[in-house]
Symmetry: C2
Subunit: 419 residues, 2 copies
């Protein structure tokens, strides 16, 4: 299924240079993050993702937390790279006809409007399936759509609250804390991508599309899976553990203050219960060979019992060393250790840039913008990352080439403010 | 590609009852969580996942944090449902021959040993590809395998430290906090599943397998994507925001203490900047209609400027109401609100049980065990969840049916302790 419109395919020869989803076309009605991260993932795997947007302001994320009125936000750019943008006023019959035309030629349809909105727009699953029975129709909502909260609105924080994430994050004696990662949003989008990919594979054998439904609350629960082992072990709800491991039976398993007075001058140090050598190696590096064999620390159980002594001893050593030095010295000796890295340190890291975990895209208005890339490295699927499209950047080309509209027809639709 | 061995396929008729990955066979060399969550995902989509384990103790996760010595841990059960288990001593030539036999008949190979181990075992990518060029070979490590930390060990917390998660989680004036969700582990496993699924799709057109490589640090960065918008906006590393939204420009966007003295008697309340009605509706519910139109609160900017007043006012109301009542009253009026739910409340929730977000499996030793299920609901792919296998439960059947070993041959291998 060759596809002249796919970004990343032009000018490249040979299958190995293509993305895995080369030839897959996605009609993208998503906004903000939970939906856009789903279609962003598909775009980074090589699918042609066509955002269909309201013609005057476009998708709401364009204006969300922007520093320059009328200029697409960084937030939007992070979630809509490698996509195309067309406009269609779906409140008009002509606008809806354009969307129907796209659906006829698409493999995937994705939306994350508030509950009930897509049906009111006239593009519920039953309608879309009738237009194209091969389509995979993916929907992200806050809560299960046959339950008591089906009509409730959700944002990332609501999903993290109701999905258990906040109950298990924070200091043991503190209030519930929201993880800074957007597990309710991007975490759900990635689950959606899994569903769509599985359905694309299945369609090769069945010839039929299907419906994929995701609830943000429920996807957050999946990331908290291990807490249910802690609950089973202790017979009560999993508590907040500060920085201890979830099962709470390990020492050391902590962040230790390092040299410096920055908010992130800490290093996490962990020794596995399964590998007693970790502890001995750590003692040697700290110059505490005298404690090798000491009964207070000589088994995971004893170390855990005496964890306050363990923590104190390690902290007295780390405070004299830079966090990166601590990580380096422990890591090269085979002890699990990780400096607390902040977003600036990460985005400036030369290795992460070389590996394209951070990439710089050229945006037509903002110019160069550095953003996180796609971390799944596939030997036969490479898709260069390109900047998010301006509103309607691909309207004429997509409607012209894909739907066969003439220049005159396009001009009339512009005139009527339908596109 | 019919497949008599796939769990979930026996006794079911028709494609609609099958999993999306029916017929896909996975050779699973993973352990603990980052790898097992990858293959768990594939199993829940209907693949036949065959764990290949060391014959005496099996995969290390079986004994990790178990409360009963010799009985598989809850942790293991959570990550290995719907899989099969065979044993093979890979330190013997006969054991390696068995694994080679499985690889010949497999679609996917997955491993997450410490760096260098799989190559030393003799099953690096080059070897496995030669045995089966169609195989998709997925590897999870802590860090990029061509960078300075390539040999460093990683566990979930190390990935969360070095991937930026901890730097953006916690109180603004507190230390970095580890999210309780295992984003370094399961978060990476889900990225791996995306890579494998995309490669399976691509293979339909190319006929060739490929290599998928994941670094836990890098996958954590992807979940922290939005922080890079905050960094771009402010020109400095994204800070810890307590429970505020990441962009930190919204009010209310907080957890509010509710009635009761449990550690999770809080409700998150959020009003979108994009929808001014949220705030007005909230004032009405709190009986503060008098403040509608008050200049101090009449725009997102003003509310944010006066956020301490906003927080105080809301907290004075919520403290008199149960968290579930607060969520219910706000949610049904279209205001985003989420009670902080703990793991016990979630696993006891009748709706989440009915929707099979929690399922009870029957384990041959532990009996009934309730665990989180798979949250991606697909209309044409249903896979009932079954308990994790005992060590070697499927050894004879798999080697017999798939590799054609006779009863005598199997008996000899048992005798020699190779299986």
């Amino acid at each position: 299924m060759p596809n002249d419109l796919a970004p990343g395919s032009s000018g490249q020869a040979g299958v190995a240079q293509r993305g895995a989803l080369h030839g897959v076309r996605v009609v993208d009605l998503t906004q903000f993050e939970a939906g856009t991260s789903l279609t962003q993932t598909l775009a980074w795997l090589g699918a042609e993702v066509i955002k269909v947007e309201e013609p005057t302001k476009g998708e709401q994320g364009r204006g969300a937390s922007t520093d320059k009125k009328g200029v697409d936000s960084h937030y939007f750019m992070l979630l809509n790279a490698n996509k195309r943008s067309v406009t269609a006023n779906l409140k008009t019959e002509k606008g809806r006809a354009l969307l129907r035309g796209l659906i006829e030629k698409a493999d995937v349809f994705a939306e994350n409007f508030a509950p009930g909105v897509i049906e009111r727009l006239g593009f519920g699953y039953d309608v879309v399936r009738e237009i194209n029975p091969r389509i995979i129709y993916a929907q992200v909502k806050g809560f299960g759509q046959d339950g008591p909260y089906k009509s409730f609105l959700a944002f990332d924080m609501i999903a993290q609250a109701t999905g258990g994430a906040m109950s298990i994050t924070g200091e043991p004696d503190g209030r519930p804390i929201k993880p800074g990662l957007t597990i309710g949003d991007t975490g759900t989008g990635l689950h959606g991508a899994i569903g769509v990919l599985a359905a694309l594979y299945q369609r090769q054998f069945t010839g039929e599309g299907q419906r994929i439904q995701l609830a943000m609350q429920e996807c957050v629960i999946n990331y908290g899976r291990i807490s249910y082992a802690a609950q089973a072990l202790w017979g009560k709800a999993a508590p907040r553990m500060g920085n201890q491991s979830i099962m709470g039976t390990n020492s050391p398993s902590e962040t230790y203050k390092c040299k410096g007075d920055g908010p992130n001058d800490y290093c996490y140090i962990y020794t596995s219960r399964a590998n007693p050598q970790h502890w001995e190696r750590l003692l040697k590096i700290m110059g505490r060979e005298d404690l090798i064999g000491d009964a207070r620390f000589d088994s995971p159980q004893e170390r855990f019992k005496n964890r306050h002594l363990v923590d104190e001893m390690i902290a007295q050593w780390t405070i004299h060393h830079d966090k990166m030095e601590v990580m380096q010295r422990l890591g090269e000796q085979g002890i699990p250790a990780g400096a607390i890295m902040d977003t600036m340190e990460l985005s400036n890291d030369p290795e992460l840039n070389r590996r394209e975990i951070f990439v710089t895209v050229k945006h037509p208005v903002r110019g160069d913008f550095k953003m996180p890339g796609w971390p799944v490295k596939m030997s036969n699927s490479q898709v260069p990352i390109t900047a998010a499209p301006l509103l309607g950047a691909d309207t004429d080309e997509v409607y012209g080439k894909l739907l066969g509209l003439s220049k005159d027809e396009l001009a009339a639709l512009h005139e009527e403010k339908i596109i």
